[in-house]
Subunit: 341 residues, 2 copies
Amino acid sequence: MELDERKAKILKSIIRNYLETGEPVGSRTISKDDELNLSSATIRNEMADLEEMGLIMQPHTSAGRIPTDKGYRLYVDELMEEERRESKEERNMLIERVDKLETLLTNLAKMLAANTNYTTLVSAPQTSKNKLRFLQLSKVDENSVLAVIMLEGNMVKNTIIKTENVIDEQIVLKLNLLLNSFLTGLSIEDINLGLMTKLKAEAGEYSTVVEELLGAISQMLIDSAPQIYTSGATNIFKYPELTEGEKASELINAFEEKEALNELVTTSMQNKNENEIQIYIGNESPVQSMKDCSVVTASYELGEGMTGVIGIVGPKRMDYEKVVGTLRDLMHQLDTIYKNK
Amino acid sequence: MELDERKAKILKSIIRNYLETGEPVGSRTISKDDELNLSSATIRNEMADLEEMGLIMQPHTSAGRIPTDKGYRLYVDELMEEERRESKEERNMLIERVDKLETLLTNLAKMLAANTNYTTLVSAPQTSKNKLRFLQLSKVDENSVLAVIMLEGNMVKNTIIKTENVIDEQIVLKLNLLLNSFLTGLSIEDINLGLMTKLKAEAGEYSTVVEELLGAISQMLIDSAPQIYTSGATNIFKYPELTEGEKASELINAFEEKEALNELVTTSMQNKNENEIQIYIGNESPVQSMKDCSVVTASYELGEGMTGVIGIVGPKRMDYEKVVGTLRDLMHQLDTIYKNK
DNA sequence: GTTAGCACTCCATAGTCTTGAGTGCTAACA
DNA sequence: TGTTAGCACTCAAGACTATGGAGTGCTAAC
C-alpha cells in the first residue's frame, strides 16, 4: 500500500493533534477540524490503512490512534513544515557574546530549556581538537606546578602537576617560555612524537620534567570527557508518559551522571553531516534510558575545530517543528556572532 | 503529663520501627518485638498518652501511629544512641588526599550519597575568607587579561578581565609582581582601603588598571556564590513519601538550581557551634521545598577560615543514627588528613 | 496497674455497573 | 467506485459497593 496525498494529510493531522493533546485522536476529531471535508467513516477507513502500514496504532481497541515511531519518523522526514520561524525579536533567545565559553554554554542550556520546556544539554567543544592559545605554569611548591591552559574560544583549563624533580621559579620560567614557543597554536592532536623529541632535546636536563608536564596536559585535555552542561531536568515531569514507573528516575539519573550523555554527544558528532540537525525517535536514541524520548541534536561550530553538540530531550510527542526551528535559529545566531568577532 | 522511662522506651521502639518500615506501627508490633514485656492493651494506653503529648499521631483512625515532627525532635535530641560506629575499615568511605579541592568535594558528595542512599550536597569553602596563595596574570589580547588565582587548599579560580587601557606583556609582568607582593597570604576580607591606596600609588600610571583588576578579582571571589556539589538526587525516588504529587519535581529542581541550597548552606554556617552537627526536621528546614524532608548538616574545616558545609537530605524517617555517625566519622577523617598534611 | 475481650472504625482491595469514546462493518447512495 | 450513515460492539475509566483486616478505645476482670 502506498501513501497517497490524502493519507499523508490525515496522518499529519493525527500527529499534529496528538502532539498538542497527548491523547489518542479519533476519526471524528479529524473529520471536523480539517480542511479535507470527509466524514468520520471515511477517515476511519483511511486510518485502518495507516495502521496496516504501521504508521499509527491504537493503545487499545476502541481508543483513538497514536503515531508509532515509524509514523513520527515519516512525519519528521517528510511531512513536517519547518521554518514557521518567528522573527528573531519575538524569540527572545538572543545570545550575548560572553567572554568565558563556560558561561556562554551554561546560559545557552538554560535559555533553551526555558524556551522549549524540554531538557537540554550542551557539550563543550572537544578539547583535543582545540588549539592552544597559551599556557602558563606557576610554581605551587617544590614538587608541584599549576598548569593553566587557555584554548581557542577562551576556554580555560587547569591542573596541578606533581613532578619528580624539585623545581624552582627559574625553571618554571624557562619551561614556560619553552613550552609556549613550541606549543602555541597547536592542538593536542598536532603534538606528535617528532615534536616531543625536539622539545625534550631543547629542554636538556629538564627533559623528564617536560615529559611529565606534557603527559599531564594531554591527560587533562583528552581524558576529561568533554564537559556537558544541562538544564531543565525537571521539565520531564511535565510529560506524564515520561514519569510513570521508573522512567523519571532513570532519565534524571542520566542527566545527573552525564556518562550516558557523553555517549549521546559522541554519536551525534559522528553522525553529523554539514550543519544538519539530527532527530532520534524512541529506540533510535543511542542512550538506552531515553528509549521513550525523542532527542534532537545539532552540532555547533565556534571556529576551526571547535565543535560541540546541543541536544534537546523530550517526549516523543515533542514539538519537532519548534525545536528544529529554534535550534536552526540558534546555530545561525552563534554563527553570525562568532564569525564576526 | 511527663515522659517517664517506659513511655520513652515505647516511643523509641515506635520510631525505630517506623524508620525501618515506613509503615504506621501498631500496638501489637511493639508488644511483641520489645524487651519490655507488656500486652498490646497496655501499649495502647501508653500510646494514647504519647499521642496526647503530641509525639506521635495516627494518619487516620484505626491505623498505627507514626512519629510527629516533635516526636522526631525528641528522638534525635535525647533518645537516639549515636556511635554505634562501625570500624573505619568497614565503612569504606576512606577519603584519599586529592590535590584539587574540587575533585575532593565532588568525590565526597558521591561517596556519601552512595553510602547513605540519601541526597547529598557539599559546599566549597567560602572564597571570601580564603587566603590567596598566589595570583597569575596573563595577557590574552590588547584589552583583556586572564587572572588565575590559587587559594589556600589548592582551589583554583580564573576570570577574564577587560581593561580600558591597552596593555602589553611588560605591564602584565610588572603588575603580576606588584599584586603578588601585596596580596599573597591575604584573604579578600583583608584587603582594605588603605592597602588599596598604597597599591595604587605603587602602580603609578597603571593605577586604573590595578583598580579594574582588583574589582574583577573581588567580584569573582565574593559574588560567585560558593560552588555546591551534589550527588544522589535520584535517591529521593526510593522514598515514596517524597515522590508523591509535585514533591519530587520540587526537590530535584532545588538540587538542580542550587539557589535554595545556598540558603541552606548559609543558615547552617550561621547556626553552627563548634564541631556540631545540625538536624533540621520537616518545617525546621530553612528551605521551603524540603519541608517534607529532614536535613542533616555538618560544617567542615580544612584549615584556617576554610569552612564549608556538608548536607544530607532525606525523608523524615531517615536513619539519623547512621547519618550522624557517618558525618562525624567523615569530619574526623577530614581533620586527621588535613591537619597532618 | 495490667490484661483479655469486644465492638467499632476505616483503609485497601476487589468486584460490579455505567458511561462514553471510538471502532469496524455493512448497506445505501452519488 | 469512493463516500457516507447507521449500528452493534469493545474497552477504559470512573462511580459505587461489598468484604476483610489491621488497629483502636473502652470496659470489666484479674
